[in-house]
């Protein structure tokens, strides 16, 4: 139907494509693409030399040359637009994605690409675009619920072991994150939940990613990331569902969406907002070397503090030990130690003697038993007796060892109490050799009795010439 009308229309205009049965008129020359474009250009640029158009800015880019490129859009169509540098300088506001504007200009066709755009001379803000409106409304609502409160933000763990990432598995963002993490802390584990981060269904995938990583349970921190883009491109991160999923995440979350100047709702509800994905990775973990340096630093101070404490204590002990009264006390202790030594020696001698006597009587018993060899019945008793003899001997020896050990231990401990080697300072110990007593009183010895005097190095034998009681 449409085709027929179209052909009739063309026939009326003298165009013909060789229809059925009719006489064939002279074939018209076909237009080249350039000619067609030229005609389109003529029509568009004349017809729309000066128009006013209203729409929302999106995909705005500022070229280094100073020109501003963007799209003007409403909910069904969009048109490319440009503000040349000379006009851009005259703008009284800074156009941004999502802004609702009124533009005045003319259409220009760009033949090499077959595209047209509006060349804007005048641009005025008209209040916010619908996306920006939605953004503001959601922001306000969540803010009222207290979801942006600083008190809600959890501290990030200083040393996470496993990091979850929700982002696209391809592209620069995940590469950047992995490279930074690797460099700072090579043994960190990373689990990526691959999700679309733009377009239809992206928000639902991001929500599922957040929930899945939470369910897996063993992650210490989570990064949501996306590279830069227009307000539309980043829109998934402004969806309420994503914001709610972040709020209910058990895992502390870093939001790193877009460039430094882009803010999204997920940035506000996350525990931390990072300006870029690389920055997010840097916030995940302090460099390992920094952590190591911190521990080693603490260790060094620990050693130094203890050494200082010990030096101080030692100085106090030495000062006290050097005191005359204390020195005398040390001397007394040493004397006691010597007496213990003496007691040990005497005890040993007595025990050895008793042991020898025990051995002697056992031998005599054995000889007497030998004499009764004729009585075979006595053999068993003899054996038993021999066993007992051995047993008695063993008991003696055991007792002896135990006492020796005990006394030696005691002596050692007392010795330990006199580290100042009192004898070394000129004190001496004097024994009466007749009685074996360590002398403390002239009454304990007598004129003419032999003495033994223990010095720091070696001993002297002497005889009491006379005594001088106090």
């Amino acid at each position: 139907m449409a085709l027929i009308e179209c052909r009739r229309d063309m026939q009326q205009k003298g165009l013909d494509f060789g229809g059925s049965g009719e006489p064939r008129p002279a074939r018209r020359r076909a237009l080249s693409v350039s000619e067609l474009t030229e005609r389109v250009q003529g029509v568009l640029e004349t017809e729309f030399l000066d128009v006013w158009v209203e729409g929302e800015i999106s995909n705005l880019k500022r070229a280094s040359s100073g020109h501003i490129y963007f799209s003007l859009k409403d909910d069904r169509a969009q048109i490319r637009a440009v503000v040349w540098r000379t006009d851009a300088r005259l703008l009284r506001f800074r156009p941004q994605d999502g802004m609702h504007v009124l533009a005045r200009g003319g259409l220009r066709v760009y033949p090499p690409r077959g595209e047209y755009q509006i060349s804007v001379q005048v641009l005025e803000p008209l209040g916010k675009g619908s996306l920006a409106q939605a953004f503001e409304e959601l922001k306000e609502k969540l803010e009222k619920e207290g979801l942006f409160d600083a008190a809600r933000k959890r501290p990030l763990p200083a040393l996470p072991r496993r990091v979850g990432v929700v982002t696209s598995p391809t592209g620069a963002v995940i590469r950047d994150i992995l490279r930074v993490l690797r460099r700072r802390y090579a043994n960190l584990e990373v689990l990526l939940y691959p999700a679309r981060v733009q377009g239809e269904g992206a928000a639902a995938e991001i929500v599922r990613g957040i929930q899945t990583l939470n369910r897996l349970g063993d992650l210490d921190i989570m990064i949501l990331a996306r590279g830069g883009g227009s307000l539309e491109d980043l829109w998934a991160f402004n969806e309420e569902a994503v914001a709610r999923a972040i709020v209910s995440s058990r895992i502390p979350t870093i939001s790193a969406v877009g460039h430094e100047t882009d803010f999204t709702i997920s940035d506000f509800v996350a525990d931390l907002r990072a300006p870029t994905p690389s920055a997010a990775a840097e916030r995940v973990v302090q460099a390992k070397e920094e952590l190591q340096a911190r521990i080693s630093g603490a260790e060094k101070r620990l050693h130094a503090a203890l050494r200082l404490g010990l030096t101080r204590t030692r100085a106090r002990v030495e000062a006290a030990a050097a005191h005359r009264v204390f020195a005398a006390e040390q001397g007394r202790l040493h004397v006691r130690a010597q007496r213990v030594d003496e007691a040990v020696r005497r005890g040993q001698r007595a025990l050895v003697r008793r042991l020898e006597r025990g051995g002697e009587s056992a031998r005599r018993l054995r000889e007497r038993l030998e004499a009764f060899r004729w009585d075979r019945q006595l053999a068993a008793r003899r054996e038993r007796l021999a066993w007992r003899t051995d047993h008695v001997r063993a008991l003696f020896r055991e007792g002896l060892d135990r006492r020796r050990a005990g006394l030696a231990g005691l002596a050692g401990r007392l010795e330990g109490l006199s580290p100042l080697a009192v004898l070394g300072r000129g004190y001496a110990l004097v024994w009466d050799e007749t009685s074996g007593l360590l002398l403390r009183d002239v009454a304990e010895t007598d004129d003419g009795r032999p003495l033994r005097i223990r010095l720091h190095r070696g001993a002297v034998r002497a005889t009491v010439v006379s005594r001088e009681p106090e």
Partner: protein
């Protein structure tokens, strides 16, 4: 801190730094200093150990047709290793 529960890295590091500060003040008896010192050494070993704990695996979750994570026979999510990032050098 509960006995049977190993302190987390940041708690151990903070405790270590508190001990250093107390020791540095030097107002403790010798016995207290020694006890704190031993605890400090234990914490610093713990911290160093924790720094080396993880394995550095980089993995990506695999999803089934419905977008749910694919599970293996033990009910663990299936993953595939991601290649480590090339260095900038």
């Amino acid at each position: 801190m509960k006995k049977n529960e190993e302190p987390r890295f940041e708690q151990a590091l903070a405790a270590l730094e508190r001990i250093v500060e107390r020791l540095e003040k030097g107002e403790l008896t010798l016995e207290e200093s020694l006890t704190l010192y031993e605890e400090g050494i234990r914490l610093s070993r713990l911290c160093h150990g924790k720094l080396e704990e993880a394995e550095g695996k980089i993995e990506m979750l695999l999803k089934d047709g419905k977008g749910e994570p694919a599970l293996d026979a033990q009910g663990r999510p299936k993953t595939k290793p991601l290649p480590p990032p090339e260095d900038e050098a």
